[in-house]
């Protein structure tokens, strides 16, 4: 045998050994079940929390200087490490966490998110930890409790709701001769046209009806629900937003832009520093309930003039989202994690978090609080929970929701007709749902 052949064989043997070692390492790491080893039922140890609420310096201050010290007073052996994000970036944080096997012990999620993660076994079943659907429904708004339930078990504890509906500046409406917000879509169009102000050069000074300051998906969903439409069929196996109601809703929105000329593309944006209702650049808008809190800070004089209304249509409704505390199924300290989730959803901390974000408390007992009583938009949201509709449904919703905004923009920019835009979107949805 030649020396070269022997060396080649040795090299091949070495390479095989190396590869086998790498594969063995991989198999060992795959085979070990992170959920089994070292799980503690003690209320102690360090836990991690990923949260899109408590963002910004005010939120961080509230959590770290007010709420967590209260939690540590109750559970002195638990320490909490917090990872802050926002709802726009929550998906990627969760994805990297799941892929890397480093899922935070406690995760705050939005409405429509729990299904996806519970279905795939990422979330802990909190029913096993002593929570029941009934116990939540006894103390919380049923419409939001439902968003934390999967397969009849509790996977999430609601902390807050947030709603989208119409808001009018009554001072501007009265100037134009209107004493109440619109009751029908025709009235809305007529008032929006009358309230729109343009300069001599045609530039828009004030929109009669702002549709650009909230995220396009939520704007469309608010209109869709009010038109009597739904996102999915009842069994969540097919899209339903391209129904007659959906096409009508999107057509009406497109017409407001291009036939009634009440708003120009780019006049506002979801990341607008100041909501146009606050500085008088909009007379009416589809708005988030936290515009009240923003107004309190920026222009409190106009608070009495902010009047909420349901977007008119065949079935006037409001869009409702929320924030839900969940616990990771792979948490090494599930008891400690559930204790934190329950603490943050309890009356004191939940009220503080709702106040900070200007949202609607999920706990019914907080609806009598001064905060809720003094906030006209929160009251309106509470009064109309019967007609609230939420997004989500199928477990694959998280992989679908990002497709909605571009389709709505295609229609608004008139690249496609509303019907074609929604049908194309429905085709994409169906393909993904069938996968």
């Amino acid at each position: 045998m030649s020396i070269r052949k022997a060396r080649t064989r040795r090299l091949a043997r070495g390479a095989s050994f190396g590869l086998a070692a790498v594969m063995a390492l991989g198999l060992v790491s795959c085979a070990s079940d992170p959920g089994d080893a070292g799980v503690s039922s003690e209320l102690s140890g360090e836990i991690t929390m990923l949260t899109p609420i408590y963002e910004g310096s005010a939120g961080q201050q509230l959590l770290e200087e007010e709420l967590l010290p209260q939690f540590y007073a109750q559970y002195p052996d638990i320490t909490v490490s917090v990872d802050y994000t926002n709802f726009a970036r929550l998906n990627e944080k969760l994805t990297t966490g799941v892929v890397s096997g480093l899922v935070p012990d406690v995760m705050m999620m939005g409405v429509g998110w729990v299904e996806a993660f519970a279905e795939r076994g990422v979330l802990a079943n909190l029913t096993d930890g002593g929570l029941s659907v009934q116990s939540l429904e006894d103390t919380m708004t049923p419409q939001i409790v439902d968003a934390g339930i999967w397969d009849d078990d509790v996977y999430g504890i609601p902390i807050m709701l947030d709603a989208r509906f119409g808001v009018a500046r009554m001072d501007l409406l009265r100037e134009a001769g209107y004493n109440a917000p619109p009751q029908t879509w025709d009235e809305l169009v007529e008032m929006a046209e009358a309230l729109t102000v343009r300069g001599t050069d045609g530039s828009l000074k004030r929109t009669g009806f702002d549709m650009l300051t909230i995220e396009p998906r939520q704007m469309f969903e608010t209109a869709l629900f009010s038109a009597g439409g739904d996102l999915f069929t009842e069994d969540n196996t097919a899209p339903a937003f391209n129904s007659k109601a959906g096409v009508t809703a999107l057509t009406q929105i497109v017409d407001l832009f291009h036939t009634s000329d009440v708003e120009d593309i780019g006049f506002s944006a979801p990341n607008a520093t100041v909501n146009p209702l606050i500085n008088g650049r909009a007379a009416m808008a589809i708005a988030h309930n936290n515009v009240w809190t923003q107004t309190e800070l920026a222009n409190p004089d106009i608070l009495p003039d902010l009047e909420p209304f349901l977007i008119p249509g065949d079935d006037p409704s409001m869009f409702v989202g929320g924030t839900i505390a969940t616990v990771s199924a792979s948490s090494k300290r599930p008891a400690a994690a559930q204790a934190l989730a329950e603490f943050l959803a309890s009356p004191g901390p939940a009220l503080a978090a709702n106040q900070q974000r200007g949202n609607v408390p999920a706990l019914t007992e907080l609806l009598d609080s001064d905060y809720a009583q003094d906030n006209r938009l929160v009251q309106f949201a509470m009064e109309n929970l019967e007609v609230a509709k939420r997004e989500g449904g199928p477990g694959k919703w998280l992989g679908l929701r990002g497709e909605v905004a571009p389709a709505i923009q295609e229609a608004i920019l008139q690249n496609k007709t509303p019907k074609v835009a929604l049908n194309d979107l429905a085709e994409v949805f169906q393909k993904k749902l069938d996968r």
Binding site: R7, T95, S203, G402, P406
Partner: protein, 312 residues
Amino acid sequence: MTQLDNRATEVVAVAGRQPRKPPVRRGRNKGRMGLIMVAPAVLHIGLWTAIPVLATLALSFTDYDIFDLPAWIGIENYVEIFSDPVFRQATWNTLVYTFWTVPASMAIAMIIAVALNQNLKLRTWFRTAFFLPQVTATVAIAMVWLWIYNPQQGLLNAALSIVGIPGQAWLADPAWSLPAVILVGAWQGIGIKMLIYIAALQNVDESLYEAASVDGASTIRKFFAITVPMLKPATFFVLIISIIGAFQVFDQIYVLTDGGPANATTMMTYEVYRSAFQNFEMGMASAQSVVLFVLLLAMTLIGRRVTKGDDE
């Protein structure tokens, strides 16, 4: 000659003191030592480059949503990519972005480099100023450009209004959003290209310019007949890294437009991100990455052909 004689005497003396090893064994030891020496580099490349590349290639043939194990689906992801109008739009946008940012910023960078290679006052200050966007976080830069492009309070519309030109919704209007992103990309890319050109200019022999001056060549003639040809290897290098950089544009899209409006500014890398981190489609994201890689390879080869490589 004397030195050689001395060395030969030493070799003979050493050979006389120690038993002679067979030459094959010495060669084997040398080979083993060589393997040990390259092992860290091979391990590094294997672990951090080869395995991820192979894993990406393998995942591109699967349906993998991070929650369940990857399921083999053959070329389905590739079929979907080529029939997906959004990915086609992203590919087109990436090509348009590259077409405008690469040559434009290369030409500007070369002119600036030549200017800053002269004995100017405050030369270092200017060089730093031009290089600053390169070392500033893209997110910070994008925030500044967000303000510049703001339709209501933005600097650009304010400047245009002074000369009576109506402002635009630069990032919200699909007709303007891609040009607006391209402008930011071209501006940000000038610094590193300028730096490479300045380094290359330091190696151009001054006597060439002196000879051209004696022959009566104008400044422009000297630029095209001496500077541009002498910068050819640097130009090839700049071209390749610029194409790769342009194809990998992500941060500014992420901050400025989120790929909108109506996918008008989405790019291939942004679609990879959306598939992986928004839609939980890791298999699809891997397939898109492979397509991006193949396209980049093709562009690099074309670039090499156009500039005839850097071998000359």
